[in-house]
């Protein structure tokens, strides 16, 4: 420092200077200051933390909590550097459970501002007010009134660091913005902690943030970001290794669920908010496969043993070193691929305007009595319903029935039940009210919900089977009735289980109460005669009940009086419901025929199951269903059946009477539900309340609720899409079940051609006469030598000369070309820099740079393929025949990632759910 020639001498720095220098490192800015104080409060076990800023924190910062307080013996050490109550030794860091551990925060705040502390523990009758000087010594101590807890106030932060002080007052608002986003991170994760933050400027006081201290992250998200944001999220629970779990929430895949910028991405390690650039990058890349233009919202808490990571990296503890980061990232990637796979996407359903008034007739009763019926229509709606089914699978198990095989039947009962409880769900309304007016009336119409899902497939199937079923049904009408009786038994026990939950919300106990009665009557004979088939009863009930329906419809004369009554109460009046009624009867009848002939017809049952449940469930179902039907067929003895029948007749009478009595109640219930309908998010809340005793079910139900309106679309579904027509010479309108989709014909064909070209295009290699010097920088050379394989696969040949001077290690010996385009040194350099980019951050990401190719390629190669794909594709404005359109859709099903064209345009959007239109019509009538 003195003279250039003379080496300066080494001397210790003055203690005060050290203190100031180091304090400035710990407390960088406003957010760091508040962060330290909030963390202290959380470490003290506070359940309420109030942060008050004056003039964005420039004047003062005050953090008051109701934590354990500080006992008087600690006052002298409170603000001394490296004095802490949180660890005793360096090794304690391995098992650290507190946010802080260095004993630097308060001493640093002392050095940078004027610190006062008010505190009281439960052992003191009165609080103490302490003032500290800049070195951390107590300058005044007096008694003051104070609840148990601690208040820390810092005035004139950074007054001892002139540069930062100026900077702070100039950029107070920006600092304040940073601070609020940091505070959000704590507000989201702090469960059971009430967090209030206010800012006072002049005379006006504004509340920045206020959380009620709810015990779930879900509620915190709703409080901090609002319900609309929460609706875009789905819960995340990954087990990425034996010791590491990830929990939290992520944006759903698909358009409109993400954010245009990458804010709202919060990462935690055991609840500590941290920065995770690699994870951030990973989820952003993965999310692109389903939503290329947006960033996901992410709230992810990594739960892992404390000794598996190091937080003592930076003073603000935001950076984390993991002991085995690469394997952690790899398993995280694998787990996340399940969430954001390019094999399916979910889309929000475009919903027509909500109907103003719900027709009063369809109601819980439908559900209570024949839930399985609508389950048929539900399950085709896709995975989400399946989830609901799963939710309840366990609980359904608790019912005394052996569900192992016919679990499906029961699941669907319950799923139906769930759906109904959160009736505000438009989807459900669709199902319930889709029918043309007539059955709105009194209908306990079983058939009505059925129509929806089964409709399309039904039509075909019914034609085929109508005749045989009629004949058979005539023959065995009475026996059919027995079957339906048995099914009622199954249901009743089910309903019994469901009842307590329902009651809370829907007051449907009256309607429900009839069922146990029915059950009692049935039990004796059931037990006596058919115990062997009890476990199969679930399945039978499905069939049998349909028969009940049907026989009323098709074979009225043959049926007994009771049966007729039942029929009328079913109120199956529209042609549609007749159809489905008839359809549903068929399997049952045939089962019965089997019973008589003692020749099982598993194939038919298989058919039933296929028709009844969507493909998602199909595989799992087919087998058990046919199996169980086999079992049934062997068991029953005709005489036994008849006996049951007589009992049953009585019960049906009874049932019907009670139903009629229950009517008004049901209507009332319905209107109640109507009110519930207002908000989507409310559904989740309702659901929660209804099952407080079962945490797991609660979580799963929450999952179901959050995905209320979304449906999953798997790329295989493109194949199932039925072409309706072409729109505007540019778009294909397709239909799957009741959903209309619009497909961009050019984008779709272009993507297909692109994937085809990138598979089939062969890069020819052109050796160079004279190897070209690449002039790579040293770090590029390191990258190149470690990625020779990828470079070679792209058609470049490099030769390495280790003895050459730096920058000349690599010579380009051959370049790739395709048709008239040749690639050169610039392309290989670009490839290397892309590799460098992905290597530095996270090498496992490389495969995600391009969504269609397994390896990286230079951008010009991609551009070339994209441009060729574009030119060879169907253009907007080309008229297409039905077959051509179908072909385009079929091609999409076979692609790796059919959701976007190479330029990022989406290929498919959901247009409308037809049931909403139908519902509208219904209402207009």
């Amino acid at each position: 420092m003195d003279n250039a020639a003379d080496p300066p001498t080494i001397r210790p720095i003055n203690k005060g200077v050290i203190h100031r220098i180091c304090s400035g490192q710990v407390i960088l800015d406003l957010s760091a200051a508040v962060k330290e104080l909030v963390e202290n409060s959380l470490d003290a076990g506070a359940t309420s933390i109030e942060i008050s800023l004056k003039k964005y924190g420039v004047e003062s910062i005050k953090v008051a909590d109701n934590g354990c307080g500080i006992s008087p013996s600690n006052f002298q050490n409170l603000a001394c550097k490296h004095h802490t109550s949180k660890i005793e030794d360096f090794h304690d860091l391995q098992s650290l459970t507190t946010f802080g551990f260095r004993g630097e925060a308060l001493s640093s705040l002392c050095a940078l501002g004027n610190l006062t502390v008010e505190t009281r523990t439960k052992n003191e009758p009165i609080g103490t007010h302490l003032e500290f000087d800049h070195s951390g010594l107590v300058t005044s101590e007096r008694k003051t009134a104070r609840e148990i807890g601690t208040t820390v106030m810092v005035e004139k932060l950074f007054s001892t660091l002139p540069v930062r002080c100026n900077e702070f007052s100039r950029n107070a608002r920006r600092e304040y913005g940073k601070f609020t986003s940091l505070l959000n991170a704590y507000a989201l994760m702090a469960r059971g902690v009430r967090l209030v933050c206010t800012n006072t400027t002049g005379k006006s006081k504004s509340v920045v943030l206020k959380t009620p201290g709810s015990s779930s992250i879900k509620d915190n998200i709703i409080t901090v970001f609002g319900t609309s944001t929460f609706a875009c999220l789905e819960p995340l629970s990954l087990c990425i290794s034996e010791s590491c779990k990830v929990e939290g929430f992520l944006s759903k895949p698909g358009y409109g669920s993400g954010r245009n910028i990458g804010d709202r991405q919060f990462f935690y390690v055991n609840g500590r908010p941290v920065d995770m650039p690699k994870v951030t990058k990973l989820i952003n890349e993965l999310y692109k496969s389903s939503n290329s233009r947006q960033h996901p919202i992410a709230i992810m808490n990594f739960i892992l043993p404390t000794k598996a990571y190091d937080v003592n990296v930076t003073p603000d503890k935001r950076k984390i070193f993991f002991s085995d980061e690469s394997s952690l990232m790899l398993s995280l990637k694998e787990a996340m691929e399940g969430v954001y796979s390019s094999n399916h996407c979910s889309y929000a359903i475009s919903v027509m305007d909500e109907p103003k008034k719900e027709p009063d007739a369809i109601n819980l009763d439908t559900v209570d009595d024949e839930p399985h019926v609508s389950s048929q229509s539900l399950s085709p709606q896709g995975i989400i319903e399946k989830e609901e089914v799963d939710t309840q699978l366990q609980t359904a198990d608790e019912i005394s029935l052996n569900i192992s095989r016919e679990g499906v039947v029961q699941d669907s009962y319950v799923s139906e039940d769930i759906v109904c409880r959160k009736e505000e769900k438009p989807l459900m309304k669709d199902i319930l009210h889709s029918g043309p007016g007539s059955e709105k009336l009194k209908s306990y119409s079983y058939a009505q919900p059925k129509k929806l899902g089964a409709l399309s497939r039904l039509n075909a199937l019914i034609d085929k089977h109508e005749t045989p079923h009629k004949r058979a049904a005539e023959k065995v009408a009475v026996k059919n009735l027995t079957l339906s009786g048995r099914s009622n038994y199954v249901q009743s026990s089910l309903t019994k289980f469901v009842t307590p939950i329902k009651r809370k919300h829907e007051q449907s106990c009256t309607t429900l109460s009839e069922l146990p009665v029915l059950r009692k009557e049935l039990v004796p004979c059931q037990v006596k005669k058919i115990s062997s088939e009890m476990h199969a009863a679930g399945l039978k009930s499905l069939d049998g009940l349909h028969i009940g329906d049907d026989s009323t419809q098709a074979n009225e004369d043959q049926l007994s009086e009771h049966c007729e009554k039942r029929c009328s109460s079913n109120g199956v009046e529209t042609p549609l419901s007749q159809v489905s009624g008839a359809y549903n009867s068929r399997p049952g009848v045939e089962n019965f025929t089997c019973q008589e002939k003692a020749s099982p017809l598993p194939s038919i049952s298989g058919l039933v199951s296929r028709a009844s449940f969507d493909t998602d469930l199909e595989n799992t179902l087919d087998d058990p269903v046919s199996k169980s039907s086999n079992v049934i067929f062997d068991a029953p003895v005709p005489s036994a059946v008849i006996e049951i029948c007589s009992v049953l007749q009585f019960s049906i009478n009874d049932l019907r009477r009670r139903r009629i009595c229950g009517m008004p109640k049901m209507c009332f219930t319905n209107s109640k539900l109507e009110r519930l309908k207002t908000k989507r998010s409310y559904a989740a809340a309702t659901l929660d309340d209804s099952q407080p005793e079962n945490d797991e079910a609660k979580a799963k139900a929450l999952a179901a609720a959050t995905s209320e309106l979304d449906r999953f679309f798997r790329k295989e579904d493109f194949e199932k899409m039925k072409v309706i027509g072409q729109f505007n010479l540019g778009f294909i309108i397709g239909k799957i079940d009741q959903d209309l989709f619009i497909v961009d014909q050019h984008a779709a064909d272009e993507k297909y051609n692109f994937e085809r070209l990138s598979q089939s295009t062969i890069m020819n290699q052109q050796p160079l006469l004279k190897p070209m010097n690449l002039n790579l920088s040293p770090d590029e050379e390191v990258i190149a030598s470690s990625h020779m394989e990828i470079i070679r696969k792209n058609g470049f040949t490099l030769i390495e000369d280790l003895h050459a001077p730096p920058g000349h290690h690599f010579l380009l010996k051959a370049v790739p070309f395709s048709k008239n385009i040749t690639f050169g040194a610039e392309d290989v350099k670009e490839l290397i820099s892309t590799l460098a980019d992905s290597q530095g951050e996270c090498s496992i990401m490389s495969s995600y740079k391009m969504d269609t190719q397994d390896s990286l390629c230079p951008s010009r190669v991609r551009a070339m393929l994209a441009s060729r794909a574009c030119r060879s594709s169907v253009m907007i404005g080309d008229p297409l025949g039905r077959r051509e359109m179908q072909k385009i859709l079929k091609h999409l099903a076979g692609l790796k990632s059919p959701w976007n064209c190479p330029h990022g345009r989406p290929t498919m959007r959901h247009l409308i759910d037809l049931t909403t239109i139908r519902k509208k019509c219904t209402q207009e009538i």
Binding site: R11, F101, N312, T314
Partner: protein
Amino acid sequence: MSICPLPQSTITIIGASQVITDAASLVKELIDNALDARASSILLEISSNALDFIQVRDNGHGVPAIDHDLICKRYCTSKLRSYDDLKNIAAMSLGFRGEALASAAELSGSMLITTRVEGDAAATALSIARNGDVLRCEAALPFSAA
């Protein structure tokens, strides 16, 4: 748990691991030191895992014998004398806190410094203990950088 002073060893290791977070940050500190010593040539030798062995050689002015005891002591520096110097430090030198070598010694445990100033007949090799004390001080062959 009451508020207690942390043992000195804990304080130093917590501090040191923040200054030197990885091999790259250590190399950075050593290069900074070399540049601050007005070196015109710096030689780096690093083992392939970047942990076993890191050597930085420069032809800067060296460390005079009088400074050897404090060379690896925390908060001892030749670059800063008072807090006010901080205003100008950015133009004068890259380092200023006196933490780099102390942290390196703490985290390595077997640090060796060989230095020679103009006028010395031979270089001096200093073995540094974890706490920054000089364990051994012996004459070494002078070397030339670059």
